[in-house]
């Protein structure tokens, strides 16, 4: 049966009317404001999302609620005073923030910490990684409504914080690293206690893996969600686990030559080919295990000797520039230090990991569904102090 001309025209008109109707019925866009006090934000990140139905069409993280201006403050401090400021950048792994700055200053002064201090620095560095990432692993469940893991995380992180407190005197802000070495030697009995805690932390990793990573809900909410291809990850300067989860085998602990002791231990850099939210969390879990292994091995290899080399009482750093970065819990943390001689730095550019890691959010959140925003942000793992500096 063929349609008459009149029927054909009527059909086209009906289609056109439907099309017009669709335009009229199109859902109105809506702006959703996440934060600044959302629990997924580890601080006060605010994200403004433009929604079309359930999908994000445009997301804009709004930083600056915690900007403390460290780059300016550092310019009016002397070198020994700077560590007090910089260990507040990433407050969950603060000892790791001090190390690259001290290394940059030591590089310009052409001194090196004694071997014993180098090994103890590495141990404390890895302990702050464990303290930092264990909280992430627990917090991961909270983003998806699983309350239990976070209690496990807080319970077990406390053991690590007690160790850091025992050695440095500060749970969160050790301020223990000095130009030329460390403030003090390790207390008696600390090594045995650390070995004991490392076993507990390995158990904690197993527990978290059982509780979370095999969980079907977690997998279905993270597998294939928020995929970052390797090329994009590099373009945005992602680092740390976020980069390795996109399949790039790059770890500053292994791939650069620093006067620290990672090469004394036998450990592995984990990567994941997927680049999705699950991969990022999984890589972090493996890294916590590796960190426990590193600490465990280094405890046997602490050489005897002083923890402080001879430095002038008034520290002056010669003219020059140095960029030193280390693989911090969150990623590449570096200090570009410019000195013109004198008691304090002339300019310090703080390259913090989270700033780059979260700058991918506008690209990554485009097109995802609203519930995934939270899991993607959680898996990117940022700390506000590390974004805002």
């Amino acid at each position: 049966m063929t349609l008459s001309e009149r029927e054909q025209l009527g059909y086209i008109a009906a289609q056109a009317a439907d099309a017009r109707l669709n335009v009229e019925l199109e859902t109105e866009g809506m702006t959703l404001n996440i934060g600044p006090q959302h629990p997924a934000t580890h601080g006060t990140l605010r994200i403004v999302c433009r929604l079309d139905g359930e999908q994000v069409v445009w997301a804009d993280p709004s930083c600056g609620y915690m900007h403390r201006g460290y780059e300016k403050l550092v310019e009016v401090r002397t070198y020994p005073q700077v560590t007090t400021l910089v260990n507040r950048i990433d407050w969950l792994g603060s000892f790791a923030n001090e190390v690259p700055f001290i290394l940059a200053a030591e590089k310009l002064m052409e001194i090196e910490a004694p071997p014993r201090a180098q090994v103890i620095r590495t141990i404390l560095f890895e302990l702050s990684r464990i303290a930092n990432v264990s909280l992430f692993l627990g917090d991961l469940g909270v983003q998806m409504g699983a309350i239990t893991p976070v209690f496990f995380a807080f319970r077990d992180r406390e053991y690590v914080l007690n160790l850091i407190e025992g050695a440095t005197g500060g749970r969160f802000h050790p301020n223990f690293d000095r130009i030329g070495g460390l403030k003090d030697d390790l207390p008696t009995g600390w090594i045995d206690e650390t070995r004991h805690v490392m076993r507990k932390m390995q158990n904690f990793c197993n527990e978290i893996e059982d509780l979370l990573f095999g969980n079907e809900i977690l997998q279905s909410r993270m597998r294939g969600i928020g995929v970052i291809p390797a090329v994009v990850a590099q373009e945005y300067g992602l680092s740390g686990a976020n980069l390795r989860a996109s399949g790039i085998d790059y770890d500053l602990r292994r791939d650069q030559d620093l006067p620290l002791a990672w090469d004394l231990a036998d450990w592995k850099v984990w990567t994941h080919p997927d680049g999705d939210s699950f991969a990022r969390c999984w890589v972090r879990l493996q890294e916590t295990r590796e960190a426990c292994k590193i600490v465990d091995q280094l405890l046997d290899q602490i050489p005897a000797g002083p923890v402080m080399t001879k430095v002038p009482r008034i520290i002056k750093v010669p003219e020059g520039e140095a960029y030193v970065s280390t693989e911090n819990p969150l990623g590449e943390m570096g200090y570009y230090l410019v000195s013109r001689g004198g008691l304090g730095p002339f300019r310090v550019k703080i390259r913090s990991a989270s700033f780059n890691n979260i700058s991918i959010a506008p690209w990554l959140l485009k097109g995802v569904y609203v519930p995934d925003v939270v899991t993607i942000l959680a898996s990117l793992y940022f700390i506000l102090g590390d974004i805002d500096r």
Partner: protein
């Protein structure tokens, strides 16, 4: 670090010998010299200056108009990981460190611009860092910018991650970026006036309340003691 540990020979860089005098004097670092030569092949005489710390680090300085070209060239040469971008104001702060005794006579501030060993001709300099993730080598790229008209080409089309860094640089140093998609403030309120990281922007906290350290500072060690400890180190 022993600069002689790498036995590679110093390569000839006759093309612009004056620019690499400092480099040629140092013992060799084949990898980094190769990178500089390769970059010179790609952008020609837009490469103004280069400096290699053997087996450690590398920086190059390029002409302002070749800033974007340099990004493309380095990206093609394998430096695909964007690390950071920022700026430096070479003018020393006219306010000092705020640690002087407030009762003493004010000292004439030293505002002479001396970039020194790190290079640079103008007051403001922008620098960025890229990493090659396969060869495990980083490079710092510097560019001098005109103080009267601080303007550069944006890197966003080559490295998308430069977006936020350029926004930060814009608000903190007042450096403009051509063809940047969205040069809003990132940290500061929209209506904020001034560029806080410029040295002539006062740190008001230090001006309203003097540094407490000057009141109860322990006596400085005598000069000879200081010298002695320096000799022994």
């Amino acid at each position: 670090m022993d600069p002689l540990s790498d036995g590679t020979s110093t390569s000839e860089t006759a093309a612009s010998a004056d620019a690499v005098d400092a480099t040629a004097a140092l013992p060799g670092d084949g990898l980094r010299e190769g990178i500089v030569d390769d970059l010179r092949g790609r952008i020609g005489d837009a490469l103004v200056d280069s400096h290699i710390t053997p087996n450690d680090d590398l920086w190059v300085r390029v002409r302002t108009d070749a800033w974007l070209e340099t990004a493309t060239a380095l990206s093609d040469a394998g430096f695909t990981h964007f690390s950071f971008l920022s700026a430096i104001d070479w003018m020393p702060s006219p306010y000092g460190k705020g640690e002087d005794d407030p009762t003493a006579d004010p000292v004439e501030p030293d505002t002479e611009i001396r970039p020194g060993v790190t290079g640079g001709d103008t007051r403001m300099q922008v620098f960025a860092r890229l990493t090659d993730l396969t060869r495990h080598v980083g490079i710092t790229i510097k560019v001098d910018i005109d103080d009267d008209e601080p303007l550069l080409d944006s890197w966003v089309e080559v490295f998308a991650g430069a977006n936020w860094h350029e926004r930060e640089c814009h608000e903190m140093f007042g450096v403009g970026f051509n063809r940047h998609p969205d040069l809003r403030n990132i940290y500061l309120p929209t209506e904020f006036e001034g560029n806080p990281l410029r040295k002539d922007f006062p740190l008001v906290a230090r001006m309203v309340k003097p540094w407490p350290g000057i009141v109860d500072v322990e006596p400085m060690p005598a000069a000879d003691e200081d010298d002695a400890s320096q000799d022994s180190s």
